[in-house]
C-alpha cells in the first residue's frame, strides 16, 4: 500500500501541476458567471429593438397591433419593476430603476418602397428586409427586422397573413402579433353576437393558473415550489458534470499509462512495485485529481451562485439551494467515485495494451459511443425518472452510475435504489479485477495492441 500511495502522490502532483488542469478548473466558474451574466447583459444592452413594418390592406389593424405591442411592453416593464422592488429590499443603495428598452417598434414603410399595390410594396421592401438598405428611425439608420402583411381580415387570419423575416429563430414578434390580432377578431365576433365590448374586455381578463401539488407530500404541504420544479431538472446538470468529470480524469489516466509505457518507465517501476500496486496507485492518484476538480467546481459554483443570489437572482438562489442539498450532492460524489473507478479501470487496461496514444484512440471509439448513451437519454429520463427507459438502463452496469444520478429527482423505489448501487459496486469490483489482470499481463507487452477477443485471453492468464 505504501508503494501505491507513492505512485498515487506522483500521479496527483504531476497532474495538478499542469496548466491545462488549472485552466479547466478556472474555466468552470468563468463559464458559470458568463452563463448567468451574459444573457442578462445582452438582454439589457445588446438586444436591439426590433423594427417592423405592416402592410395592412384594410387599414383597420395597425392600431390593434400598436396597442398589442404597447401592452406587451407594459407587461415587461411592470415585471422588471417588480424584480427591481425585490432587489431593492436586499440592497437599499441600488441604482435608480431603469425601464427596459422597447422590444418591438412599428415603423412606417419607407417612402421609396410605397406603392398602391400591396404586393408591389412588399417586393419593394425586400432590400430592407435582407439588410441591403436601412430604414431611418429618429434620423438614425437601423435594420428592418420584419414585415407583416395583412390581407382584409375576416373570421380567420390564417390565409394570406405573412410574416417576412430572415431571422427564423426569433418568433417573439410574430407571437405577440398573433395574440393581439386573435383577441381583436374574437372580440369583433362576440360584439356581432350582441355582447358588449366592456363585457368582452372583462371576460378576457379571466385567467386560469394551475398550482402544482405533489400527492406524496404531507397534508397541507402539497404545494410544489419553484425549487422543486428545478430540482426535477437538476440531475441532468449533475449527469452532465459526471460525464465531463469522469471523461476528463479517465483520459488523464489513459495518457499517463501510455506515457509510462511508451517512455519505457514502466519496467523500472515494476522493479519497485507490483502491477497491482502500480494500477491501484494510478487509480487513486488520478481519482484524487478528479475529486480536487469536483471540489473546485462545486466550490466555485457555490461562490458564483452565492454572489448572484445576493444580487436577488431567483434562479441562482434555487440552484444554490439544490447544489447544497444532500439528496443530490452525496449521490453525485458517490456515483462519481464509482463511475470513475469503473471507466478508468477499463481505460487503464486499454492503455496497458497500447504503445501509443493513436493505438488507444482506436479502442476509445467504442468506449465513447457507449458513454454517449446516458447523455442522449438524460432528458427523457429526467421527464420520467421512474419510467421504463430509466428502469431498464438502471440495470445496465455501464450506464448505472449516470442513470442513478439522472433518477435522483424521481425518488426511485428502494429496491432499484439499493440494487442500482449494489450493481455499480459489484461492477466496479469486477471491472477492477478484470482490468487488473489485463494490466498485469500487458503492461510490458510490445508490438501490436491485442484484438478484442485477446483481451479475454489476457484476463484469463495467471
Amino acid at each position: 500500500m505504501k508503494y501505491s500511495f507513492l505512485v498515487a502522490l506522483r500521479e496527483y502532483l504531476e497532474n495538478v501541476k499542469t496548466k491545462g488542469f488549472w485552466i479547466g478548473i478556472l474555466l468552470f466558474p468563468v463559464l458559470l458567471v458568463a452563463s448567468i451574466a451574459v444573457p442578462r447583459l445582452l438582454d439589457k444592452y445588446a438586444k436591439p429593438t426590433r423594427n417592423f413594418c405592416v402592410i395592412d390592406a384594410s387599414g383597420e389593424f395597425i392600431p390593434v397591433i400598436d396597442a398589442g405591442i404597447q401592452a406587451d411592453y407594459e407587461k415587461r416593464k411592470s415585471r422588471a419593476a417588480g424584480e427591481y422592488q425585490e432587489k431593492l429590499k436586499g440592497d437599499p443603495n441600488l441604482v435608480a430603476f431603469e425601464a427596459p428598452k422597447p422590444t418591438f417598434r412599428r415603423v412606417e414603410i419607407p417612402e421609396e418602397a410605397r406603392d398602391s399595390d400591396p404586393e408591389k410594396t412588399r417586393k419593394n421592401l425586400k432590400p430592407w428586409l435582407t439588410g441591403e438598405k436601412k430604414i431611418l428611425v429618429d434620423g438614425k439608420p437601423e435594420e428592418l427586422f420584419a414585415l407583416v402583411v395583412l390581407p382584409p381580415l375576416e373570421l380567420s387570419v390564417s390565409k394570406g397573413t405573412d410574416f417576412w423575416c430572415i431571422n427564423l429563430a426569433d418568433t417573439a414578434l410574430a407571437d405577440v402579433m398573433e395574440e393581439c390580432l386573435r383577441d381583436e377578431l374574437r372580440s369583433r365576433q362576440l360584439v356581432e353576437k350582441g355582447i358588449k365590448k366592456k363585457d368582452i374586455d372583462s371576460i378576457n381578463q379571466t385567467t386560469v393558473k394551475f398550482q402544482s401539488k405533489d400527492p406524496k407530500k404531507a397534508a397541507g404541504e402539497e404545494k410544489v415550489s419553484d425549487t422543486e420544479k428545478y430540482r426535477q431538472w437538476a440531475p441532468v446538470v449533475f449527469v452532465y458534470l459526471l460525464f465531463v468529470a469522469i471523461m476528463t480524469v479517465a483520459q488523464m489516466l489513459l495518457s499517463s499509462t501510455i506515457e509510462e509505457k511508451s517512455n519505457r518507465i514502466v519496467e523500472v517501476l515494476l522493479s519497485s512495485v507490483t502491477p497491482w500496486e502500480l494500477m491501484l496507485g494510478k487509480l487513486l492518484g488520478v481519482g484524487f485529481v478528479g475529486i480536487t476538480m469536483l471540489v473546485a467546481w462545486l466550490g466555485s459554483a457555490f461562490v458564483v451562485l452565492g454572489h448572484f443570489t445576493e444580487q436577488g437572482d431567483d434562479k441562482a438562489r434555487i440552484f444554490l439551494h439544490l447544489l447544497v442539498s444532500p439528496g443530490l450532492l452525496l449521490p453525485f460524489v458517490a456515483l462519481f467515485l464509482l463511475g470513475y473507478l469503473m471507466y478508468s479501470s477499463v481505460l487503464l487496461a486499454v492503455g496497458s495494451t497500447c504503445n501509443t496514444l493513436k493505438d488507444a484512440q482506436n479502442f476509445m471509439g467504442p468506449v465513447m459511443t457507449v458513454m454517449m448513451v446516458p447523455l442522449l437519454t438524460m432528458i427523457s429520463i429526467a421527464q420520467d425518472p421512474n419510467g421504463l427507459l430509466a428502469r431498464i438502463l438502471t440495470w445496465v452496469p455501464v450506464f448505472t452510475p449516470f442513470v442513478m444520478m439522472n433518477r435522483m429527482a424521481g425518488d426511485p423505489p428502494m429496491l432499484e435504489l439499493v440494487g442500482g448501487y449494489a450493481l455499480t459496486i459489484a461492477s466496479v469490483c469486477i471491472s477492477i479485477w478484470f482490468s487488473g489482470r489485463i494490466f498485469q499481463n500487458s503492461i510490458l507487452r510490445t508490438g501490436q495492441p491485442p484484438k478484442l477477443l485477446e483481451f479475454l485471453k489476457l484476463a484469463r492468464k495467471g
Partner: protein
C-alpha cells in the same frame, strides 16, 4: 549474511511455443561485478527480468538476497532496464528522488541524495531541469542515478552503455566502480566485450537462451587455445614441427595464420624460427585471446550446434 546475492536454478521461460531461456542456472557471488554477455536476442533481458521477479519463470527457482522473490527485497535492489525512459515533465532531481522513494527512501533524504549525485556526476547545473530539456546522454545518466540513488546492495544494469558517447561511458564506468567500492554487487548485461573485460570479475555468456560459459575472465580465455597470429605471404606450415606448437591453421583473412601454442611454450621461439626459416612476416601477434575472441568462438559454436541440430 549469505555469500550469494543471486541464485537461479534450472530457469526456463517459454512464450507459447518459443523458449526464451533454457534450463539456466547461475550464482552471483556477493561483491562481484558480474557480466551478462550475449548477442542480441540471447535471453539476457528475460533472465534479468526473471531475477527481478518482473517475469515469472515457466519452471525453475530463484533466490535473491536470500528470498524467493525479488519483490521481497526490492528496496535493496537497483535496476536499470535496457529500454530506458523518464517522466518528460518531471525535474531531474524529482525523478531521481521519486525512484529513491519507491525504494524506501524518505522524501527529504531522496531529494538531498539526488542533488548530491547529480553534482558528483556532472549534472549539477541540471538539477531543476525538466527531463525533456536534457540531452539523450544526460537523460541516460539521470536514469542510471535513479536506479542507484538508494545505495542498493545489488544492482542490475541492463545494457547500461548502449547509446552513451565515450565520455559518458567513462562516467558510467566510474559509477560502477564507485558502487563496487562501496560493496554493492553488480550485474550488468552488454554485448560490448571491452566493457566486460575492463569491469567484470565474473561473466556468464548466454546465446539462444542457453548458458555457454560461467566463470572468471581468465577461465573464459582458457576455453580457447593459446595461439600466435602470423601474417605472411610465405607458407608457414614448417612451424608445426616446432616443439610446443600443435598446429598451423589458415584463418579466413588473407595471409593470416593461427599457430596453436601449448601451455608453457614461448612465442619468441616461433618468431626466431620464422627468421631462421626465411618466413618473411608482415605481422606477429602473440597477445592472449580477448574476451571478444572467446565470445565469437563460443557463440559461433552455439550457432553451429543449432544448425547441426
Amino acid at each position: 549474511m549469505s555469500d550469494t546475492v543471486l541464485r537461479l536454478e534450472h530457469i526456463k521461460k517459454c512464450y507459447g511455443d518459443f523458449t526464451a531461456v533454457h534450463d539456466l542456472s547461475l550464482v552471483v557471488p556477493r561483491g562481484s561485478i558480474y557480466g551478462f554477455l550475449g548477442p542480441n536476442g540471447a535471453g539476457k533481458s528475460t533472465t534479468i527480468r526473471i531475477a527481478l521477479s518482473i517475469y515469472e519463470p515457466t519452471s525453475g527457482s530463484i533466490e535473491v538476497l536470500g528470498k524467493p522473490s525479488a519483490l521481497e527485497v526490492r528496496e535493496r535492489i537497483g535496476y536499470l532496464p535496457e529500454e530506458k525512459g523518464l517522466y518528460r515533465k518531471m525535474k531531474a532531481r524529482d525523478v531521481i528522488a521519486y525512484f529513491g522513494q519507491l525504494k524506501g527512501m524518505k522524501r527529504a533524504d531522496a531529494k538531498r541524495k539526488a542533488v548530491e549525485m547529480l553534482e558528483r556526476y556532472g549534472l549539477g547545473a541540471n538539477v531543476d531541469s525538466k527531463c525533456e530539456a536534457l540531452s539523450k546522454g544526460m537523460q541516460q545518466k539521470v536514469q542510471v542515478l535513479a536506479s542507484i540513488v538508494h545505495s542498493p546492495e545489488f544492482v542490475i544494469l541492463d545494457e547500461p552503455f548502449s547509446g552513451l558517447d565515450p565520455v559518458n561511458q567513462e562516467v558510467l564506468e566510474q559509477v560502477i566502480a564507485d558502487l563496487a567500492k562501496h560493496g554493492s554487487t553488480i550485474v550488468f548485461s552488454t554485448h560490448v566485450m571491452e566493457h566486460a573485460e575492463r569491469l567484470c570479475n565474473r561473466i556468464v555468456l548466454i546465446a539462444k537462451g542457453r548458458k555457454l560459459f560461467d566463470g572468471t575472465i581468465p577461465e573464459a580465455k582458457r576455453t580457447i587455445r593459446r595461439r600466435v597470429i602470423l601474417e605472411t605471404s610465405a607458407n608457414p606450415e614448417q612451424l608445426a614441427r616446432l616443439p610446443g606448437v600443435s598446429g598451423v591453421e589458415k584463418t579466413e583473412q588473407a595471409n593470416r595464420y593461427e599457430v596453436a601454442v601449448a601451455d608453457g611454450a614461448r612465442p619468441e621461439e616461433i618468431l626466431s624460427a620464422c627468421f631462421k626459416g626465411g618466413i618473411e612476416l608482415s605481422a606477429f601477434d602473440k597477445n592472449e585471446p580477448s574476451l571478444r575472441d572467446v565470445f565469437l568462438k563460443l557463440v559461433g559454436r552455439a550457432d553451429a550446434a543449432e544448425v547441426a541440430a
